[in-house]
C-alpha cells in the first residue's frame, strides 16, 4: 500500500483548463486559428498532466491537495484526492477529450458560434476532471453541477428548435438530479458528519434517512448515468449535440454518474451494508432493465446518432450491473467497461459525425455503400461496432467476459442470460449498418467524392478504433491493469 502525498497535479488538471478557457476566450478575438491551437494544446497538456500522475499512482500512492476552505466546519473544504479509481477515469477522460478536441478543429470549421464552442469544451474538461479528482462530496458536487450546467451549452450548440427542446429537458433533468444529489450529500453530512472520500462506510446503520440518502444518490448519479427511469433526457440530448460533443457526452460524461455511484457504494456505504439491507438490489434490477430497454429501443431507431444514444443507455447498464453485483470480476468488468465504452462510443459517435458531415444523411437506411466512399471511417466504425457486440479479440468482449464471470461468481447466472440477450440485440442494430455500408446497394451518393474526411478527423477516429483493437485480449493492456488495481482497491476497502 502506498502513502498519501501532497501533489498539486490534481488541482492543476482541474483548474488549468478552466483558466485556459479565459485565455481561449480572449485569443479568439485575434485569430480563430490560434484559438483552435490553444484548445488542442490545452487538452494535450491536461492529458500529459493526468498521465504524469501515473508513476505515483501505480505505486499505490494517493495524491491529495487542499485548495481552499469554503466552509471548514461543514467538511466543505475544496479538497482534491486522486486514487487509482479516480486516476482511471481521469486518464480515459482526458485522453478521449484530447482526441475529440483535435477532431473538433476540422469538424467544427463549418459550424457557427465556434467562439462559444471551444471555451465551453475546454471548461467542461476541467469540470469533468474536477469530479474525478475531488476529495470530498461537496467538491464533487460542485464540479458535477458545473459540468452539467456548462455542458448544456454543448447540447444546444446547434440552436435548432429540436436542440433547444432537448436542451431544456436536459437542463431540467440535470437540475433535478443535482438537487437529489445535494440532498444525498447533505444527508450524508448530517448522518456521518463528514463527506470526505478518505472514509469508507460513512453510513452503516439502516434508517429512513439513510435509505432516503441512498435513493437520492441513485437519482442524482443515475440521472447522469442514464439509468432506466431517469434516462429520458439522454436520447434527446446526445444526438442533437455536435459529434465531438456527443462523443464526450456519451463516452465520458455518462461515466461521471457511474463514478459517483462507485463512490457512493464503496465510500458512503459499504458492500456488507448494502448487501445486508438488499438496497443494492434496486440498482441491479434497474441496471437489468436499462440494459434490455436501451438495446431494445435502439433497434427501433433509424436515426444514426439516436441509435447510438440508446445503445449508450444499454452499455451504461453493463457498468451499473457490474458494480451492483459486488463480485471481484464484476467490478473489474464494470471498470474496464468504462474504458472500453469510452473508446467504442467515442469512436462511433465521431464516425457518425464524419458520416453526417460528409453525406448529410442521418438515417441508417440511407447509408448504403458508404463503406466504399469512406473506407477508413467505416472500418473504424466496424471495429467499434464489433467491439460493442463483444466479438472476442476486441475490448468489448473482455469487459463482458468479466461481467459474466462476475455474475457466475455471485451465483446469478440469470444476468449472464441478460448479457447474452443484449449482445444479440447489439448485433441486431449494429450489423445491419455495417453490412449495408459495405455490401448494400449505393443510393443517392453519386455526388459524394470518394475521399475520406480530413486528416485531423481521421486521426482521432483511427486512434480510438486502434484502442478498441489493442486493448482487447492482448498481453499489454494498460487499461485492464489499471482496472484490476482499482478493483483490488475497492474490494480491499482500502480507499
Amino acid at each position: 500500500m502506498g502513502e498519501t502525498t501532497t501533489s498539486f497535479l490534481p488541482v492543476f488538471v482541474t483548474l488549468f483548463p478552466m483558466l485556459m478557457t479565459l485565455a481561449i476566450y480572449y485569443v479568439q478575438k485575434e485569430s480563430a486559428k490560434l484559438r483552435n491551437k490553444l484548445s488542442v494544446i490545452t487538452s494535450i497538456i491536461t492529458f500529459i498532466a493526468v498521465a504524469a500522475m501515473y508513476p505515483q499512482i501505480i505505486r499505490g500512492d494517493i495524491l491529495v491537495f487542499e485548495l481552499f476552505e469554503i466552509i471548514p466546519e461543514m467538511g466543505f473544504v475544496g479538497t482534491f484526492r486522486v486514487d487509482i479509481l479516480s486516476f482511471c477515469l481521469a486518464l480515459i477522460s482526458s485522453f478521449v477529450w484530447m482526441l475529440a478536441t483535435i477532431y473538433s478543429i476540422d469538424y467544427m470549421s463549418h459550424e457557427h458560434a465556434q467562439n462559444r464552442y471551444y471555451p465551453t469544451l475546454i471548461f467542461t474538461l476541467g469540470a469533468c476532471l474536477g469530479i474525478f479528482v475531488a476529495g470530498d462530496f461537496f467538491t464533487l458536487f460542485i464540479f458535477f453541477e458545473l459540468m452539467s450546467v456548462i455542458s448544456y451549452v454543448l447540447v444546444v450548440h446547434e440552436e435548432t428548435e429540436e436542440a433547444l427542446k432537448a436542451g431544456y429537458k436536459y437542463i431540467i433533468m440535470t437540475i433535478i438530479g443535482g438537487l437529489a444529489l445535494l440532498l444525498g450529500v447533505i444527508n450524508t453530512f448530517e448522518l456521518a458528519g463528514t463527506v470526505s472520500l478518505e472514509h469508507t462506510g460513512m453510513i452503516t446503520t439502516a434508517s429512513g434517512l439513510a435509505f432516503a440518502t441512498f435513493i437520492a444518490y441513485i437519482i442524482g448519479f443515475g440521472m447522469k448515468a442514464g439509468m432506466f427511469p431517469l434516462h429520458v433526457w439522454l436520447p434527446d440530448a446526445h444526438p442533437v449535440a455536435p459529434a465531438p460533443a456527443s462523443a464526450l457526452l456519451s463516452g465520458i460524461m455518462l461515466k461521471t454518474g457511474a463514478y459517483g455511484l462507485f463512490r457512493v457504494f464503496f465510500n458512503v456505504f459499504n458492500v456488507e451494508f448494502l448487501q445486508e439491507t438488499n438496497w443494492i438490489f434496486v440498482v441491479t434490477v434497474l441496471a437489468v432493465i436499462t440494459i434490455l430497454l436501451g438495446s431494445a429501443v435502439a433497434i427501433t431507431q433509424y436515426d444514426l446518432k439516436r441509435r447510438l444514444a440508446y445503445s449508450s443507455i444499454g452499455q451504461m447498464g453493463y457498468v451499473l450491473l457490474g458494480m451492483s453485483l459486488f463480485t471481484e470480476a464484476a467490478i473489474l468488468g464494470a471498470i474496464f467497461h468504462i474504458f472500453s465504452h469510452a473508446f467504442m462510443k467515442g469512436c462511433l459517435f465521431i464516425c457518425a459525425g464524419a458520416i453526417i458531415v460528409k453525406t448529410g444523411k442521418r438515417d441508417v437506411r440511407e447509408l448504403g455503400g458508404i463503406g466504399i466512399k469512406m473506407p477508413v471511417t467505416m472500418i473504424a466504425f466496424t471495429t467499434a461496432s464489433l467491439a460493442m457486440i463483444g466479438i472476442p479479440p476486441l475490448n468489448g468482449f473482455l469487459s463482458k467476459w468479466n461481467l459474466a464471470l462476475g455474475a457466475l461468481d455471485g451465483g446469478a447466472p440469470f444476468y449472464v442470460v441478460v448479457l447474452l440477450i443484449s449482445s444479440l440485440m447489439n448485433g441486431l442494430y449494429y450489423l445491419p449498418i455495417i453490412i449495408n455500408a459495405f455490401f448494400g446497394e449505393e443510393v443517392l451518393h453519386q455526388e459524394i467524392k470518394a475521399d475520406d474526411v480530413p486528416f485531423k478527423m481521421l486521426l482521432s477516429i483511427v486512434v480510438l478504433a486502434v484502442c478498441c483493437l489493442i486493448f482487447g485480449v492482448s498481453p499489454i493492456n494498460l487499461p485492464f491493469d489499471l482496472s484490476r488495481m482499482a478493483t483490488d482497491l475497492l474490494i480491499g476497502g482500502g480507499i
Binding site: 469554503i70 466552509i71 453541477e145 458545473l146 450546467v149 437540475i175 443535482g178 437529489a180 440532498l183 432516503a212
Partner: protein
C-alpha cells in the same frame, strides 16, 4: 478632540445623521445646481462607508457598541446598539445601496423627469438612512419612527415615476404599510403597558418578569408584531403589495425594495422575536412552526406565481416572495445552522435580486423590452447585462460556486438539524421551480432566435453606459466570490447567530 476622535466616538449616530443631513440639504442644492444631487448622494454613501468601516473595526475589537443619544442612559433615553447583527445589516445595506445608486445615476435620468431627480435622491437617502436606523436602534418607538420614514420614502421612490401603475402601487403599499406599522405600534403599546419600558433590553427583562401574569397580552402583541412585519416583509398571505410595487417602479427603486427594504424588517422581526419575547411563551403558541408553515407557503406560491408571469420585473418581484420565505425559514428553524443560512440568504439575496432587477432595468434602458418572450436573442447583443442576469439566475437556483448555493446548503442542513425533513423537500422543490422560470429567460436570451427577423426591424440596442455596467459586474463578481469564499461574510454572521441564540 480631533476629527478622527469624533468619528471614532460618534460614528454610530453620525452614520444616520449624515444621511438625514444630506437629504435635508438636497432640495436646496437642487434649486441651485441640479446636477450635483447625484454626487451628493454618492458622497453620503462614501461617508457612510467611513463610518461603517470604523464601526466594524470597533465591533471586532471592542465588542458591541452602545450609543446613548443625548447622553441619557437607556431606560430614559434612546439607545443605539451596534452588534454583529446590526453590523452585518449595515454592511449589506451600504454596499448594495451604493451600487444601486451608481447604477441609478444613469438609469434615472432616463426613467424620471429631470425636475424630480433631486427629490428622488432625497427620498433614496432617507430610505437608506432609515434602514440603517432600523438596524441599529434598540428602542421600540424609535423603531416605529424609522419604520414610518422607511415606509413613506419607499412609497415615494415608487410614485416618482410618471406612470399610472406606479401611483396605484404606491398607494397600495402605503396603505398596507400603514396597517403594518399600526399593528406594530399597537403591539408596542401592549408591551409597554405591561413592561413599562421601551428599550429592547429593559423591555425584555420586564416582560420576562410579568410573563406569567399577562400571557395573553404578550401573545397578542406577538401576533400583531408578526402580522405587521409579515406585511412589511411581504411573506406569502400578506404579500399583495409586493408584486405591484417593484414591477412598476423605476429599476433602482425595485432593486432596493426587493433587495433590501423587505430584508430589514425581517431582521428587526428576528431581533424582537429572539431578544424581547420570553422563551417560555413559545410553549404556549407554536410560533416557530407557524413561521415555518408561512415560509413554506411563501416559497412555494411565490415560485408558482412567478412561473406564470410575462413581465420580467413582475416575475422577479414574485420571486422575491419566495426568497423572503427562505429567510423566514431560517428564522423559524431556530437553530444555529438554519439561522446562519437565513441571515446569509439576506446578504446573498440582496446581491442577487438587486443584480437581477438592475439587469432587467438595463435591458429596459437599452431596448425598451419588458416582456419575457421578447427577450429572444438578446444575450449576444448585451453580454454584460445578460451575463449578470445569468449569474443571478444561477444563484437563485442554487448552482454551486454561486452564493445562492451556500445559503441553501446552510438552510438545508438547518432543516435536518431541526429534524424537519419536509422543509428540506420544500427547499429542493423550490430550487427546481426557480430553475423553471429563470432558465428559459437565459436560454432564450442566448440561444433563442429572434422571431421578427423577416420584415420587422431588429431589436435596437443602445450602448450600455459604464456607470450601469460596473455595478452589474461588481455584483456578479460578488455573487461568485461569496459563493466560493463565503467565510468572509460568515465571520460576521456566525458571531451574530451566536449572539442571538
Amino acid at each position: 478632540m480631533t476629527f478622527i476622535n469624533v468619528i471614532h466616538a460618534h460614528s454610530t449616530v453620525l452614520l444616520i445623521v449624515s444621511f438625514l443631513l444630506f437629504s435635508f440639504l438636497m432640495p436646496i442644492l437642487e434649486r441651485w445646481k441640479n446636477s450635483w444631487c447625484a454626487t451628493m448622494a454618492v458622497a453620503a454613501h462614501v461617508l457612510a462607508f467611513v463610518f461603517i468601516g470604523n464601526l466594524s473595526w470597533r465591533v471586532f475589537t471592542e465588542g458591541t457598541i452602545h450609543y446613548e443619544l443625548g447622553g441619557w442612559s437607556p431606560p430614559w433615553g434612546i439607545e443605539f446598539v451596534v452588534d454583529y447583527l446590526a453590523l452585518f445589516m449595515l454592511i449589506t445595506i451600504s454596499t448594495v445601496s451604493f451600487l444601486i445608486l451608481i447604477f441609478g445615476t444613469v438609469d434615472l435620468t432616463h426613467e424620471l423627469k429631470p425636475k424630480v431627480l433631486g427629490l428622488y435622491y432625497t427620498l433614496y437617502l432617507l430610505l437608506v438612512g432609515a434602514m440603517m436606523g432600523l438596524a441599529v436602534t434598540n428602542d421600540f418607538f424609535n423603531m416605529f419612527v424609522f419604520m414610518e420614514i422607511a415606509a413613506i420614502s419607499a412609497c415615494g421612490i415608487i410614485s416618482v415615476k410618471s406612470d399610472r401603475e406606479c401611483v396605484e402601487a404606491s398607494f397600495k403599499y402605503l396603505m398596507l404599510s400603514a396597517v403594518g406599522t399600526g399593528c406594530v405600534l399597537l403591539s408596542v403599546a401592549l408591551l409597554y403597558m405591561i413592561g413599562g419600558h421601551l428599550n429592547f433590553a429593559f423591555a425584555a427583562a420586564a416582560i420576562q418578569d410579568v410573563a406569567h401574569i399577562y400571557p395573553n397580552n404578550i401573545l397578542v402583541a406577538l401576533a400583531l408584531f408578526s402580522v405587521g412585519f409579515i406585511v412589511k416583509a411581504a411573506l406569502f398571505p400578506l404579500h399583495v403589495w409586493l408584486p405591484d410595487a417593484p414591477s412598476s417602479a423605476p429599476s433602482p427603486s425595485s432593486a432596493i425594495l426587493s433587495g433590501l427594504v423587505i430584508k430589514i424588517y425581517t431582521v428587526v422581526y428576528l431581533k424582537l422575536l429572539y431578544k424581547v419575547f420570553p422563551i417560555e411563551l413559545f410553549d404556549l403558541l407554536p410560533v416557530f412552526d407557524m413561521i415555518l408553515i408561512l415560509s413554506a407557503l411563501s416559497i412555494f406560491f411565490g415560485s408558482i406565481f412567478a412561473i406564470v408571469q410575462e413581465d420580467i420585473k413582475r416575475m422577479l418581484a414574485f420571486s422575491s416572495i419566495a426568497q423572503i420565505g427562505y429567510v423566514f425559514l431560517g428564522i423559524g428553524l431556530a437553530n444555529s445552522t438554519g439561522l446562519t443560512g437565513g441571515l446569509l440568504h439576506i446578504f446573498n439575496h440582496a446581491m442577487m435580486k438587486s443584480m437581477l432587477f438592475l439587469s432587467a432595468g438595463a435591458i429596459i434602458y437599452c431596448t425598451g423590452i419588458r416582456k419575457i418572450d421578447d427577450l429572444k436573442g438578446i444575450g449576444l447583443k448585451m453580454p454584460v447585462v445578460m451575463g449578470a442576469f445569468t449569474i443571478g439566475a444561477m444563484a437563485m437556483v442554487g448552482i454551486p460556486t454561486t452564493n445562492g448555493f451556500i445559503s441553501k446548503l446552510y438552510l438545508a442542513l438547518g432543516t435536518l438539524d431541526a429534524n424537519k425533513h419536509f422543509y428540506l423537500a420544500i427547499i429542493l422543490i423550490s430550487s427546481f421551480l426557480n430553475c423553471l422560470y429563470y432558465f428559459p429567460i437565459v436560454i432564450n436570451a442566448f440561444f433563442g432566435e429572434s422571431e421578427e427577423e423577416d420584415g420587422e426591424e431588429e431589436i435596437q440596442v443602445k450602448k450600455l453606459p459604464l456607470r450601469m455596467s460596473v455595478p452589474l459586474i461588481i455584483l456578479g463578481a460578488g455573487c461568485m466570490i461569496f459563493g466560493i469564499f463565503p467565510k468572509y461574510i460568515l465571520v460576521i454572521i456566525e458571531r451574530a447567530v451566536e449572539m442571538i441564540l
